[in-house]
Point group: C2
DNA sequence: TTGAAAGCGCTAACAG
DNA sequence: CTGTTAGCGCTTTCAA
């Protein structure tokens, strides 16, 4: 019982009058221990208030029982929901989840990822912000499974769990076109974001499929906050030839657009990617490209655990399907 | 370079032709190292792809650089938001956050907490579900700071960060009374939950202050889901003497009540504890007992870190203030 | 079935 | 400024 004040196996062994190894056996529930001895050890454990030091144990055995999760932005409920899903799978496997946020900063992502590897995580789930992940090559080779989420990795072969961004956006816009809309506004976040590029492609595909063309004036990107989206939407509504419909490329943008549209009470069809809390309570009906967010996290965790077992060969990219649903329309 | 395949300091030392300790110095950025040697070491580090094993390092030094967070229910956005706030403070201190959910299960809470202690966390933030926390007594004595969040601990002296539940509920109901409402319904979750008891007390205080009495028929508790709250609200609205106002004791209940009220378009004042995403977009105006949720998490983290420095004497309970705000009314 | 000894990868203490 | 020697608390051989 030295500097930390915590009793060690040695203390327990001394107290029980057995060897260190016997204590180890009892504490770890190994078989072939004389019941009488086991009792003596357990008594000593209780008396001293002994708790095994899991870190020291894993040092020698090499057991890795924690999963690292690096979100792009923890203030976004999307990533929090994924973290919750991953956490629940981790708990099921008796593993721990340590989470961090790169704040959409590539350098920070790298630091955090490498930091977690130094902490000997059993695996890493990353929502990539960086555009080059070769910095993880070494860790992958050394046996740390890495799964990318929401956005693919580059410069390194690895599993990835992605949404069907293109298909979802395409379906949403195709529906608007089928309803007769021609002047369809498209609001997007920065084109530096993978999902935005994909969703934009989906929009174009829908137009192409219909033999129509998208008016570039109605396409606005770089909308990173609901406020920016609201302002953009207001400008569109004030324009001479206002759109009759709008496709919002993510939930923050949808919210911003709603903030512009609702107070005016203007007639405009709204369709958005990503569901959000309380979308059902909205006063007007909107269409949402929805998907199972818990499934996204769960698949990532499961893919990671499977990788843990067998080595890193034949990486896969999983596409999580989307579906169009009705939201709002209450009152 | 043994079983794990990962190079160790010994490998680096051999490669650089210096002693282990010199490698340690360079790797840890300690001063007083000859630049020439440092370069040689750094070269070897790069050549071998060496990364320091943080677990092994902390084994000897006793450094604890991870914070454990046990939420009551990670599917609740309230706790997720807190986790995000804690994570951000942790990051600022170069610490990691490992999170888990007790799923409102006392036994699980205990298992998780003790588990994290075995992993040598530098501190624990717990949203308590258990009604006895003496199981943590030992760890606290041994120097692991523990802070309770949202609900107080029992059977153990410890810091706690709580909301001003009573004051918030009281203010909300006082306002309804001042507006002339007399038949005020009160919807609550289970009275087994600390916050519910407090908020209920606040409601009673408001009535007492006004020299009025609360009609017990209008008080309904045990509402654990939005659905249950909606059903209860519908029953109240169908009753002969329907309430003219309702106080909802948490956000899930407020949402349920809204689901009952909005489609009917009935006139009833709604006041609820806890803000929620998009409350601003609601079609009708409601009053919310709001507070800074990030502040709640940040205070917990900061209290924990302060405890880390000085020993566990003079524990405090911090009350986070609430304020009444307008929400909704859009459209 | 039990135990002694070696070592996981690193840091701490003390010399040189 | 650099290296040597212990040891952190536990698991892992390998004997007894």
């Amino acid at each position: 019982m030295r500097k930390t004040g915590r009793p060690t196996m040695i203390d327990v062994a001394a107290d029980a009058g057995v060897s260190l190894k016997t204590v180890s056996r009892v504490v770890n529930g190994e078989p072939n221990v004389d019941p009488a001895m086991a009792t003596r050890v357990l008594d000593a454990v209780a008396r001293l208030g002994y708790h095994r030091n899991a870190l020291a144990a894993s040092l020698r055995s090499g057991n890795r029982d924690t999963i690292g999760f690096i979100a792009a932005d923890l203030s976004n409920t999307f990533y929090m929901a994924i973290a919750a899903a991953v956490s629940s799978i981790a708990a099921r496997e008796r593993m721990h989840l340590v989470m961090a946020s790169s704040e959409e900063d590539a350098a920070l992502e790298r630091t955090l990822a490498l930091d977690l590897c130094q902490r000997q995580v059993g695996g890493l789930i990353v929502v990539p912000t960086a555009d080059d992940h070769s910095y993880l090559q070494r860790e992958v080779e050394l046996g740390t499974p890495v799964v990318f989420l929401d956005r693919p990795a580059s410069g390194i072969p690895a599993d990835a769990i992605l949404l069907d961004n293109r298909g979802g956006a395409r379906a949403a816009v195709a529906e608007l076109l089928a309803a007769g809309h021609r002047r369809i506004a498209v609001l997007l976040d920065s084109p530096a974001i993978f999902t935005m590029v994909q969703r934009r492609e989906g929009v174009h595909e829908a137009f192409t499929d219909a033999g129509l063309e998208l008016d570039p004036v109605l396409v606005i990107d770089g909308l990173h906050t609901p406020k920016a989206a609201r302002d953009a939407m207001e400008r569109l509504l004030d324009a001479e030839t206002a759109p009759t419909a709008v496709f919002c490329a993510n939930n923050r943008i949808t919210i911003g657009a709603l903030e512009a549209v609702l107070p005016r009470g203007v007639e405009i069809a709204i369709s958005g990617f990503d569901d959000f809390e309380l979308s059902r309570l909205l006063p007007r009906r909107i269409r949402i490209v929805d998907y199972d967010i818990a499934d996204l996290g769960a698949r990532a965790a499961e893919t990671l655990l499977r990788r843990g077992a067998d080595p890193a060969t034949g990486t896969h990219t999983h596409l999580v399907p989307t579906r169009l649903v009705d939201r709002g329309g209450m009152r």
